[in-house]
Symmetry: C2
Subunit: 362 residues, 2 copies
């Protein structure tokens, strides 16, 4: 009781430990721990006294020690797929940023924090941080990181249904096939005769599912597929592909672009070829960006609702971490939203909301 206020070893001069609090309050370490954590059976007077002393000393429990003891760190890994040299496509598409933001927010509300980690990385980075679970965005086919994490018994929830036999705990995704089919129908309804697709060369499930849905739709309605594929992580390649698509002899009169920048790229290409939008060319792209509300003309976009996805992924993951999850793997589908603007409507709407036409039209 002679040396209060300072840890017996000179560990960190500014920081008080639980021992210091116990000494200053005149109680034992156990009592301090119980008082601060709301456990044990203590009279309220003692509890208040201990809390007061702890506040006065500026006591903050050591996160490392607590993690070691309890086995819970309160940290969730967030893995973003990496394409080129740059380890992140964090900002490549507004989708990722929005999703990460929503996920961070949702995690925080439940007392967890997010750690940004690269999908492909050396083990030392992954094993140097104690994670309670991991969110994986768009995992590739046989992701070694995911396998390793699952092998360690950590819950892994993916944004985007896993390809192949990737053993994730759960996943959350949109119904990309339905979304593409809906857009193609929407364009056909607006009068499109030949719908083109701007797609990617990557092998992720989003690109794959969307492209096959397009091909199936073409087969069903008897249209020859008209599409250009490019590496989605290269913005210049996107502009080039958009130009190529409109330069084809079988030029489409409507285009759906799978990636965020496709809208402006297609618009620029259309201007180069003297095509008016939407009179000569109908346009839709998948994007979360608000710039498409004020382009000339405004462009119809498909939103994948990244906020809802990010929130859902975190809820499912934390449920699994805390043992609240159901036994069977959770598979959650979030609906997409088509934001219809001028670029996909042949005649500008006279009323703000047009009533659905009678369905018995051929």
């Amino acid at each position: 009781m002679s040396r209060a206020e300072t840890s017996r070893r000179g560990s960190r001069p500014g920081r008080a430990g639980i021992r210091d609090v116990a000494a200053a309050a005149g109680v034992s370490i156990t009592t301090v721990s119980d008082a601060l954590n709301g456990k044990g059976r203590l009279p309220d007077a003692t509890r208040r006294h201990v809390r007061e002393v702890a506040d006065r000393l500026g006591y903050r429990p050591s996160a490392a020690a607590r993690t070691l003891r309890t086995g819970k760190s309160g940290l969730i890994g967030l893995t973003v797929t990496t394409y080129g040299n740059e380890p992140f496509t964090f900002t490549e598409f507004a989708y990722f940023a929005e999703m990460a933001r929503a996920a961070t927010s949702a995690a925080l509300a439940r007392g967890y924090a997010l750690v940004i980690l690269p999908a492909t990385s050396r083990h030392d980075v992954w094993s140097n941080v104690a994670l309670d679970g991991t969110v994986v965005i768009d995992p590739s086919d046989h992701d070694p990181v995911v396998s390793e994490l699952v092998r360690q018994g950590l819950p892994v929830v993916s944004d985007g249904r896993p390809a192949g036999t990737l053993p994730v705990t759960a996943w959350v995704d949109n119904d990309h096939e339905a979304a593409v089919l809906g857009i193609l129908d929407h364009l056909a309804d607006a009068g499109a005769r030949r719908i083109g697709l701007l797609t990617g060369t990557t092998t992720d499930t989003y690109t794959h599912l969307s492209t096959t849905a397009y091909l199936r739709w073409c087969e069903r309605v008897g249209q020859d597929p008209v599409y250009e594929a490019y590496p989605a992580h290269d913005p210049c390649a996107g502009a080039v592909a958009a130009d190529r698509l409109l330069a084809r002899p079988d030029r489409p009169d409507a285009v759906y672009g799978l990636f965020d920048p496709n809208g402006t790229d297609l618009l620029a290409a259309a201007r180069r070829y003297g095509l008016r939008v939407p009179e000569d060319l109908l346009l839709v792209c998948c994007s979360e960006s608000t710039v498409y509300a004020s382009t000339e003309p405004p462009i119809t976009t498909l939103s994948l609702k990244p906020r809802r996805i990010g929130t859902a992924v975190i809820q499912v993951l934390i449920d699994a971490i805390e043992g609240l999850a159901s036994d069977q793997p959770v598979e959650q589908v979030i609906p997409t939203e088509l934001i219809v603007r001028t670029s996909s409507q042949r005649r500008p709407p006279r009323t703000t909301v047009s009533p659905p036409r009678s369905p018995e039209r051929e």
Copy 2:
């Protein structure tokens, strides 16, 4: 030696501890630790043997235990200023996303990972994660979180020079005043007679410095200030403010917008008023987005070089963490870059690079 392969307590069934490795390799715990960490004096044969056994058992050292022992967690906090209810402006502007991406990448290259944390948060979230240091983006005047972190002896480096007497360890920033003055001169050179400003109502140093630089420039050249301010976190308010600015009786013939979406908003407003860009209205905005390369017309943007800032912030912070820093506080200024496009040039350039005019013009 009888119970190898499994920890003596049933802590985590799948995970092997350092004791298991020692038992399986027939050496002591010390030897395992030294062999794996490259310390001590061991013959290469022993070192290899231990590593082999560790690999075979799939041994991963416990991050929590290592952190507790060494006092280093390898984690760096990343704090983003929070405006409205949403705890993050993570994606509000491409700047933040780019900066965060660069910072993550730079940190990872030096063996650190980033934890996303809100600027305003309850203590429990901050104290539940063991940080080695923190990056603060655009700290507000008397940020309690920063003070608390500094009080705990943690290095704090801010993106953006700190307002008031905020005791950060170091900061990295652009020279916003010089940037604004440069843009105003650029617009005046292009023939602008009355330059307007689209600015924010927030009190961060970026907005403050930029606005006062504008006002000083106006005073110097004898122009009446023409500006509209709006809460930068509200995208709709930005569109409204852009419209108001062009609706004024003293309508400017050139506008600089401080925030990312101002370009499209101003362009849309100009179309509504029948103003041609750049013939009737010169336009520049501060943005990292590439969409301004393919708008009609392409818009001149000021880049704050978020990648360089993010990288620099991390380097300075890690130097401070590892004790490599100089004694005096580091203050690093990153130059901005003006990307000149059609919207700020009255006559389209005949050559790709125009030589600077002779400076002895009044």
